[in-house]
Symmetry: C2
Subunit: 218 residues, 2 copies
Amino acid sequence: MSMNAAKRPRGRPSLSGPSPASDETCLDVALEAFAERGYEGASIRDIAAASGVSHGLITARFGSKQGLWMAAVDHGMSRLHQRLVAVEQAQSAQIGVEERMRTVCIRFLETVAAYPAIVQLMNVEGSRPGPRLSHIVETFFRSRSWPFATLLAEGQASGLFRPIHVSVPFTLLAHGAGALVALRPLVEAVNASLRTDPEGLSRTIEAAADMIVRGLKA
Amino acid sequence: MSMNAAKRPRGRPSLSGPSPASDETCLDVALEAFAERGYEGASIRDIAAASGVSHGLITARFGSKQGLWMAAVDHGMSRLHQRLVAVEQAQSAQIGVEERMRTVCIRFLETVAAYPAIVQLMNVEGSRPGPRLSHIVETFFRSRSWPFATLLAEGQASGLFRPIHVSVPFTLLAHGAGALVALRPLVEAVNASLRTDPEGLSRTIEAAADMIVRGLKA
DNA sequence: CATATTAATATACATATGTCTAATTAAATT
DNA sequence: AATTTAATTAGACATATGTATATTAATATG
């Protein structure tokens, strides 16, 4: 971000003089870099240069490239989460659940469009579950308070939405339908109730196709 | 794929003896590798070893890493395309367009699930349009005969489907809704009628959310 | 004021990677 | 049969990268 290419002197920075980029700034830069060029494509040196610090500082602060990556994911994820919770809490319960769901979807997509990196990272990580993808998925599903799941449950309780496992529309929304690709490692990583054998996968595919044609309505 | 690690001798291969991996085999291996580990993460040497050939042969056949990548994309794309066209042609026109659309969606997702690499590559390429992403997108949109677009137009002509630009459900289907992320570079790359300014993006987002809630039905 | 600690830069190093070139062997051509 | 061409492997080389270490300067501590 900051094109602060003016080389600072060695040693501990002066409190009066210009301080180097904060951890947050570095994580923003890193998230963008990882999302744009992939884990291998983004180098520590590039990220450091774009943050206006030396590459040694990155490893000093975050330990390793893996450490930087995990910190960046946590950073982006918490921002997305906070945004969504705020949206749902700002909504009046007077409004019907369908309309609230629609709003949450819109806000979600808007937020994602504004901070694409965090969702992009899910895809960048590839189609097989590895330690990095697992870290994202666990972070995503850990908190049960994501408004999307809450609203889906509410709509289902009132019979307005079809009974469908939360991970199906959620995956459709977050990863996308094309990420049915990603459903397999997603499910394996979360150990959800959905099955990954051919028959289970086939039923999941049909459910996803139904959603595209008929939507969420009962 | 082929764990043919038995080192072949130098020089032109004998016609009687075992021949090295075909171009197709190499492209299959490459597609999988690129999808799984990203463009930078997949090395020519790894791909060559997994194909059972020397790394020099890869560059000799495909010119460069970029050349290998483009050939792999063309390879996977044509396979996906052929599969979808075959599905649509096998369907009787007696069946309603909605049911045929549903089938095509299912077959599309099934095919993608079976060959995830090609869609995965779209995401791996990151959130900004570069030469590689542009190549995929152009290949995707070049042929107007993709059954999805045909069926959508047919359903719209009969008033069964809502009027919506083909790229919206297509993106929802192929990239996924989360790939609204990817819609921006997608649109820029294709220079479609959809706009990428905030207002246009907002309308696109609302349209996508409508699709999730109400589905394709009129 | 002297010393230890902290926070940063810079350098060193082994390894991996894309590309280019040489070497080698079988087939094709004359 | 001799020679050229094609197809493949192997090695060379410059560059980039992650990590480990040395260096430097400002602050904290006594």
